[in-house]
């Protein structure tokens, strides 16, 4: 299996009485009142250091994502973060998780930027295309919820065509009309970088991913026990199409906290996990379900199948404690043995070839992140690595000559700059 270091880049200095003073972390949280640029400067640079660190200790991929008008994640443009990382990393693949295609006008902007980054990084890009949360897409960016998914899919179709077309073409879509589509540059990877679809449990996304052979990644903060129903839905969609249940079709996101033992895990990580769950996930329910964002089929499935959408979880987060976080499996924490055992069980349950781990929690300082990252990379990753080795990963960057030489050129460059700065 493969391991990816995912960074959410939260704003790390929300006040202690945040839940009492503000109705939510997203959309209308007053930036003029709460955002401090010096804090932002330190956060961005620490976070990029942490992603670069993950590259050095052997993660397969490093992941960033897109969110707007919030203190939960400071990345309105994930591609800017990837651009910063492309020149400072050499081995890890760059997973943008991803660009909310419906929010780019025209969507060929996404095709262009990913192509730029793919060429710049020597073919290391993985292109994630999320619909985007209701807060980001409908409230912050004003997209009509009823048409968002259709616009998104049309945009993804346009991006894929733009990457592959043999000649310039006209695109007469419902949401985008372009007389000439002919992007420069084109991606280094052929026919295009792997496409990953981050999902939140929508019924139609399972089928869509299976139909198009896109990787489906379930991004949840609520642990693998809760993720089971969603992943079952995806695997059923795969089975309905008679496709092989290759685990590399799927990804899952998990908070992991590695320490000597439970006591050290609590001492090092508990308060930062609570910062994340209590503050960063403090979502105003008025912004959770714009009418039309969730399809009627998914609403029906939710009522009948008892699948909770991520947005419905807010009420469970009030007064959450570290022991509840562990009991419910939101965070997998403890000694390397314990973490390996739990993640092995998770693998058996969910069948995911791509594990995205969150090793930075909320407001965790860089030293703690690097400690957690080192221990995960050295004591957990090697023991889980052989799982699914019987399957071929067709949803990953193929090592090309350019990738390899770019990697060695880049590490040589880093070595030179390191020695000149000494």
């Amino acid at each position: 299996m493969k391991f990816h270091f995912f960074h959410l880049m939260p704003y790390p200095e929300l006040p202690d009485d945040f839940r009492q003073r503000y109705h939510g972390v997203w959309v209308d949280l007053p930036a003029a009142e709460l955002f401090d640029a010096d804090t932002g400067y330190r956060a961005y640079n620490d976070y990029l250091d942490e992603l670069e660190f993950a590259d050095r200790v052997g993660f397969d991929g490093i992941c960033v994502n897109e969110h707007h008008q919030n203190a939960y994640g400071l990345m309105p443009s994930p591609n800017l973060m990837i651009a910063a990382l492309a020149r400072r990393t050499s081995q890890a693949k760059l997973v943008v998780m991803g660009d909310s295609v419906a929010l780019y006008n025209p969507p060929t902007r996404v095709a262009e930027e990913i192509a730029m980054l793919d060429v710049l990084s020597g073919g290391r890009m993985v292109a994630g295309f999320p619909v985007g949360t209701p807060m980001d897409t409908t409230y912050c960016y004003g997209e009509t919820p009823a048409t968002l998914r259709e616009k998104y899919r049309e945009g993804v179709e346009l991006v894929l065509r733009a990457w592959q077309a043999a000649e310039p073409f006209a695109f007469n879509g419902k949401y985008t009309q372009l007389r000439y589509v002919n992007i420069w540059p084109r991606p280094m990877q052929k026919p295009h970088p792997p496409v990953w679809i981050p999902g939140g449990g929508s019924v139609e996304t399972w089928d869509w991913c299976a139909e198009h052979d896109f990787l489906y990644a379930y991004l949840s903060y609520f642990g693998y026990l809760r993720g089971q129903k969603v992943m079952e839905g995806f695997w059923n969609a795969v089975a309905r199409r008679g496709l092989e249940p290759n685990p590399y079709r799927a990804g899952f996101l998990q908070f992991v906290a590695v320490a000597d033992n439970d006591a050290e895990a609590e001492r090092l990580y508990a308060k930062h996990a609570l910062y994340f769950y209590n503050r960063c996930l403090h979502l105003y329910s008025g912004f959770s379900s714009p009418p039309g964002y969730t399809s009627l089929a998914t609403i029906r499935q939710g009522i009948e199948g008892q699948i909770k959408l991520a947005a419905d979880r807010n009420k469970e987060l009030q007064d959450l404690t570290w022991s509840q976080i562990l009991e419910r499996g939101y965070v997998v924490a403890g000694s390397p043995d314990k973490v390996v055992q739990q993640l092995t069980e998770m693998e058996r349950t969910l069948r995911v070839g791509h594990l995205m781990v969150l090793l930075h929690f909320g407001d965790m300082p860089k030293e703690t992140v690097e400690y957690n990252t080192t221990r995960f990379a050295q004591e957990v990753m090697p023991r889980l690595r052989p799982i699914w080795s019987e399957w071929e990963d067709n949803w990953w960057v193929k090592e090309s000559q350019a990738t390899l030489s770019a990697a060695s050129a880049s590490s040589a460059h880093l070595a030179v700059s390191a020695s000149t700065s000494d």
Binding site: A146, L296, I303
Partner: protein, 260 residues
């Protein structure tokens, strides 16, 4: 009240509720929750008018909106409905979302509308007194926005079943399609085209669409008067049904007499 499905020249099918046989034809364009939710209003109107109440496309099936991309498509769809019903000219009345469609219809096809009654209409925007975000509040808070007195909220029997939740979601999806993110689709630029005499009714205590919009509608429409109903909120046809009915009757009959 009975419903029928008619075929339109566009190939679409359209559900139309009917009530009353006698009197002038009156087209009722429903509020936020479909025709059934407006049954009391429709039944009362049926005493004086032959009422036709089309269900907004999307309310029965979201696919009905596949070819209705914007407010212009929607206005022309309603024109198709009136033509299919043989109504070359009719009284058109609507509430809330329905009043916005009524105003759009009258602006797009002025000759189709003899009298226009707009109850708590949407469709205009002023930064100084913005329309509240109906879709940006938790659903339990909606009554506070829509009713001056939340005790006026119609009671629901028991816990809503799956189909009721799906139907509500389908209706709101449709409404949001034409109101998101700001309920201004350019109506103010077209209102000069309206030829019908117009009555605007608005609840004094409307917390969703502030009553000041009533004056804006009256100012922008060529031949309109407005009446603000004290004590009522946005859901005028629930909270001030009698006032709405009597104002409508007086307005239509006076207008008819004036024309004779």
């Amino acid at each position: 009240m009975r419903s029928e499905t008619i075929a339109l020249p566009s190939g679409r099918r359209q559900v139309v509720y009917r009530a009353g046989e006698d009197g002038p034809a009156l087209v009722w364009l429903h509020s936020l929750y479909g025709v059934e939710a407006d049954a009391a209003m429709v039944e009362e109107l049926a005493r004086d008018y032959a009422v036709y109440a089309p269900l907004a496309p999307g309310f029965t099936d979201l696919d009905e909106l596949a070819d209705i991309h914007d407010i212009h498509d929607l206005a022309l769809h309603y024109d198709d409905i009136l033509v299919a019903l043989g109504l070359q000219r009719a009284v058109v009345a609507g509430h809330s979302f329905g009043a916005m469609i009524a105003a759009e219809l009258a602006a797009h096809v002025p000759e189709r509308v003899s009298h226009l009654i707009l109850a708590s209409p949407l469709g205009l925007w002023n930064d100084a007194y913005p329309v509240a975000d109906l879709f940006g509040i938790p659903s339990p808070e909606m009554p506070k926005l829509l009713y001056a007195d939340p005790r006026n909220v119609p009671a629901v029997d028991g816990k809503p079943d799956v189909e009721a939740i799906i139907a509500l979601s389908r209706g709101m999806t449709t409404v949001a399609r034409f109101l998101w993110p700001i309920p201004d689709r350019g109506l103010s630029r077209r209102m000069y085209r309206v030829r019908a005499r117009t009555l605007i009714l608005h609840g004094e205590l409307d917390a969703f669409v502030p009553a000041r919009y009533a004056a804006d509608f009256a100012r922008l429409l060529p031949n309109a008067s407005c009446r603000v109903i004290p004590g009522a909120g946005h859901m005028l046809i629930v909270e001030a049904l009698d006032e709405v009915l009597s104002a409508t009757r007086t307005f239509v009959s006076n207008a008819v007499e004036a024309r004779v």
